[in-house]
Amino acid sequence: MAQGIGQWLTWGMLALPLGAALVIRWFQTRWSVQQAGWVASGAIGMAALGAIVLALSVPTHGHGLMVPLWQWMSIGNLTLSLGVQWDALSLLMAVMVTVIATLITVYAMGYMAHDMRGTSFFALVSFFVFWMLALVSADSLLGLFFGWEGVGLCSFLLIGFWHDTPSNRWAAIQAFVVNRVGDLGVWVALLVPLALMHPVGWGVLGAQVATYPPVLQVAVGLGIILAVCGKSAQGPLYVWLPNAMAGPTPVSALIHAATMVTAGVYLLARTHGFMPPSLQVVVMGLGLGTAFLGGVLALGQHDIKRVLAFSTMSQLGLMVMACGLGAYHAALFHMVTHACFKALLFLGAGSVIHGLNGEQSLARMGGLRRHMPITWVTVTIAVLAMMGVPPLSGFFSKDAILLAAWSHSVGLFLAVIGVSLLTACYMVRWWWLTFMGSPRYDATDTPSHQSPHESPTVMTVPLMLLAGLSVTVGVINAPLPWCPPLLSSWLSPLIPALDGHHGSLAVMALLGVGIASVGGWVGWWMAHRAPMVIAGGEQQWGLPWLLAWVSAHPIRWAGVGADRWVDRGLIKQSITGVSWGIHWLGNRVRRLHTGQLTGYLVMWVLALIAVLGSMVMAW
């Protein structure tokens, strides 16, 4: 397509959300929540349109469309600049981000309608979308880092949106600090080529890293792994994600389900050639471990949103594992489908919370299917998609991952089946406790003394649209005879596909149904027999406490110790010690000033003898 139109579209896509953020901020006190919401969704919607147009017209071979934006500095041979690169991967991310963000922003107009500071919410959401677009469209690791930091900042601001409550503030700080640890990883990955004066653009970086000695390759690889752990809540850095549920539900849906946390997967896909095989095994193990951990921890939660948070962590683990296997197409496919039904699940949870006027504990829900039918139907579709029931989208994407695991080893295949069983288990438990059974809430307990009501249209329409997507988006890569694998062919020039053998569709379908049934039955049993509030579950059986003792507390002790012993002790004491020493010396010398003439004369004579003697000696 013409370079000029591409440039205009790029500028528009980046400028519209940023402009909306600034405008809403400016008119914050004069606009109502609805007005701000329309401006925000309009801007993000137009950005989505721009992304779709670009996606349909940018050629898939070569580097795609490059739009240079700003040259930052040049040092010797090295030029650092910020620019935009629209190729298959970045456009995939851009479309997904903007479309889902539009739906969530529309939903938020209803959810935040009665919030006192609702208008500033939309400014922040638009700001976030801008940074996320900057992240995915960057043409270099440096540009990605800018967006990385930006989304981290917006995440902090949005998690702590209701900052009157101390626990919300703490959750926001925790999210930011843990993300910072991950940013250290991006730093390392950036600094290695920059220190060697190599450019860091995506086109050349892969070839560069391949020429490094193994030590440096491992360093870059480990840096990227650390970054992924931080942003996508993998491994020991997961602790911020469940606490991030302190933010409003649209925030959880947008940032912590569909967009920001997928930036880690995006980074892995971008750096698909960087990892030596040993590190790829690490990535695989990390993803699989997190997937299991997330599933187990999700079973112990009784807060409606925290179950979903751990579910996100678990699914991201599957995606990371797939990247470690080399099955990038499967990982990205699952990312897209997961974004749709996870956002739907979160928005549905938000609808439930809204309907119950703020109740968030599963222990006090139940029987809501009668009062909130639209929510119930859409959420059920999402749950089925999540469990991998054919022919919903989740089935196809999970199928791709299963096949990739099968091509690696039987053990891995069984492990992924285990994760799927866990998924089905906690999802059904969650679904049953929320919607089915008999009500455990007391209508007189709710602040408005009315039974739960369905959400307004502005909230249910996005639910329905997302449900539609959850059903249909599987076609982009489904191995069905009448569906061309659009995604794979689109991505192939950029990232090679994994040669796996494609299993028989019927067998996989049966397997999917079987897993969903078995896991679902266990979940139903847990919902009925096991206590709703599982002992220790809310505290994740002490795991964050353990992680803090291993990492955060030693660092804090080191800091306190450095302050007490080095800063105030050594450095300050050495300086005051110099002053004290001079005082002491002065006091001792002062005793020579007796005032007695004879004493002075004696000292004078001694000095004279010393001087004359040295003169004689020298002579």
Binding site: R590, H593, G595, Q596, V605
Partner: protein, 99 residues
């Protein structure tokens, strides 16, 4: 005349003079010690004049004597002042430089 002996005499005399200055608190005796040291230097100067055969040495001694006389005059004037204000000529109480 033997130079070695002169050196010994002069050294001893100067030492005695210095001892007088440092060891006594009576200002008069201290001034006499100073005079002794000057005398020692004079003796050495005259002996040096004999060694080199120069007349100038004796003239230098002459000048030293003149300066010594002037110095004694001024010193005794100060001593009189000291006695006038402190009613003592001991250096024991002169501690205003202390500290």
């Amino acid at each position: 005349m033997n130079v070695a002996g002169v050196l010994v005499l002069t050294a001893v005399l100067a030492a005695i003079g210095m001892m007088g200055v440092l060891a006594r608190r009576n200002v008069l005796v201290m001034m006499m010690g100073v005079e002794l040291m000057l005398t020692a230097a004079n003796i050495l100067m005259v002996a040096a004049g004999v060694v080199h055969g120069l007349l100038d040495a004796q003239l230098l001694v002459f000048f030293v004597m003149m300066v010594a006389a002037a110095e004694v005059a001024v010193g005794l004037g100060l001593l009189v002042l000291l006695f006038r204000f402190r009613q003592t000529i001991s250096t024991k109480g002169l501690t205003w430089l202390k500290g």
